[in-house]
Amino acid sequence: MARNNTAARRRTRVGRGLQYLALSAYLVFLAFPLVWLLSTSFKPPRELVRLHPTLIPESPTLANFVQAFTEQELGRAAWNSIQVSLASALLTVLIATPASYALARFRTRLGTVALGWVLLSQLFPFVLLIIPIFLVLRQAGLANTHAGLVLIYVVWALPFALWMLQGFVRNIPRELEEAASVDGANRLQTLRRVIFPLLTPGLVATALFAFISAWNEFFFALVLIKTPELATLPVALARFVGIEGTARLGPLAAGSLLATLPSLVFFAVMQRRLASGSLAGAVKG
């Protein structure tokens, strides 16, 4: 009996050890490319052309960051990206909120069709869409403009935004609405005082999703924006890769790092907002 126990304990200890081994392998795989990007972005040119580069820069410098934003005009591209992504996020939430409420609260055939389309649209490669979209936008005078890009990003983000938001609406107990109407609130008041406050985490999450997908998007921006001054950050960075020499790697890494910052910040915020759980205790008994 006692011997059995020690054997079992040894076995679990070995198991634990293996688990830690596996976890560290994952950490190395996930982290090292990021560490290398970080390291490259702080290296001065002469360390970058060295035959055997080191992980930690010997004389770290911020020059790459400065260079990335002055010389190559990534700064302008970043500003373009911020504008486009913010507009896309706001517009997506604005459009998706009423629709997601309707989808969650009313049973309509239209709703089913809409959701079906949403899922179906995931199947199609962009190349089927991009040519006709380009023609439509050109007819509307929106080709090669940020407004056109925003429109596409909104439509592109809508499927998942609707899917997500209507889930949030569904999670708000119907009884709360009924209670409000018993208390004499009309539908608009119910929406404003009861639904919206509870929906805030969902709205934030949807906005973040729309922001990030616009911020990261590459293909449409590459094809639709022809004027270099209007290019978004991913397109500008991709151009930068084309002209890369070893010495140019520093600014490239710095620019890439900065391009990742907004999404990281947004992810961090989103996690906290979603965890706040403003629904807890809303319905009892």
């Binding site: 055997h52 991709a238 890769v241």
Partner: protein, 311 residues
């Protein structure tokens, strides 16, 4: 329910609360849905249908080009296009390899993160970071890792004394595709991990405890308790991953742009080149149509088999 209409002070917007409530409900629903439906119709449904149609025409770039219906001519041309076949083969290889590796690695990581281990906080953050990165940045990041002179990988091989293995990873005919596949796995693993982890946390603890009481080992519990309850999520996420991978573009465009010698020319890259370098809109759209049909067919087979297993 009708009591709310009795109070005039809150009845400012109320029309038709008593009579025809159903009809006003329907109007409301349509009004609520309209702002979403309109842009989707104009910029998604219509372009898609037109895109599918373009696949049966000889549309080309340029303003006043006559477009005529050519039926299956594009597809006949595709059948004889060796570049298409090679890109198609590469695309399938890429999508399968990335999806399978992504899933296995993500499942392993999710299982680990579900345990009470140290550093799992760090791992959880790291698991999300690649997800938050723009594909273009992921491409640049891995170009730095694979860089022949200033790269992390070659330097690592030098440090462990394996100088013979150093190579130009993305420029070598043999290593380019595997190298690109690893990047695909790295970039897509986080999302799959997060989904699987969420699903794992939904598996009832009691089931595990009951199985343990019956003397089931860790592997048996995983096989008979965890896996079956994860199955719906696994089917959903692997299907989506496969579609996303098959249609992916930005990552490989930045890494290799299809090179060397077309060794990483995914179908989307091929279509992009056809459409926007050579201006063959109709031909590119035909290629898109073929891709859709293939994805649908593969998914149908996969989902049917899964459904049959579930029954």
């Amino acid at each position: 329910m009708t009591t709310l209409a009795e109070r005039p002070d809150v009845e400012r917007t109320g029309q038709g609360n008593r009579s025809g409530r159903r009809r006003s409900d329907r109007t409301t629903v349509y009004l609520l849905l309209l702002p979403s439906l309109l842009p989707v119709l104009v910029l998604s449904v219509f372009p898609l249908l037109r895109g599918i149609y373009l696949g049966f025409t000889d549309a080309r770039a340029g303003r006043n080009v006559e477009v005529s219906f050519t039926g299956l001519a594009n597809y006949r041309e595709l059948l004889g296009d060796s570049l298409f076949w090679s890109s198609f083969r590469i695309g399938l290889l890429w999508a399968f390899a990335v999806t399978v590796l992504q899933f296995l690695l993500a499942l392993g990581l999710a299982l680990l993160l579900d345990q009470r281990l140290r550093f799992r906080g760090v791992a959880r953050v790291l698991a999300v970071v690649p997800w938050a990165m723009p594909p273009v940045v992921v491409g640049i990041l891995w170009r730095l890792v694979y860089h022949p002179d200033a790269g992390l990988l070659n330097e690592f091989l030098h440090r462990i004394g394996a100088d013979g293995l150093r190579t130009t990873w993305l420029g070598d005919f043999n290593t380019a595709l595997p190298a690109v596949i690893i990047v695909g796995v790295w970039a897509g693993m986080p999302q799959t991990t997060v989904v699987l982890l969420a699903a794992l946390q939904g598996v009832p603890r009691e089931l595990h405890e009951a199985a343990a009481m019956d003397g089931a080992g860790a592997w048996q519990r995983f096989r008979n308790v965890t896996l079956p309850s994860l199955m719906p999520v696994i089917v959903a996420i692997t299907s989506l991953d496969f579609i996303w991978n098959f249609n992916s573009f930005g990552l490989v465009y930045v890494l290799t742009a299809g090179g060397p010698g077309g060794r990483t020319m995914l179908p989307m890259l091929f279509a992009y080149e056809e459409a926007f370098r050579y201006g063959n809109y109709g031909y590119a759209a035909a290629l898109g149509n073929v891709m859709v049909v293939i994805v649908v067919a593969l998914l149908a087979v996969y989902l049917r088999r899964r459904l049959r297993e579930a029954n």
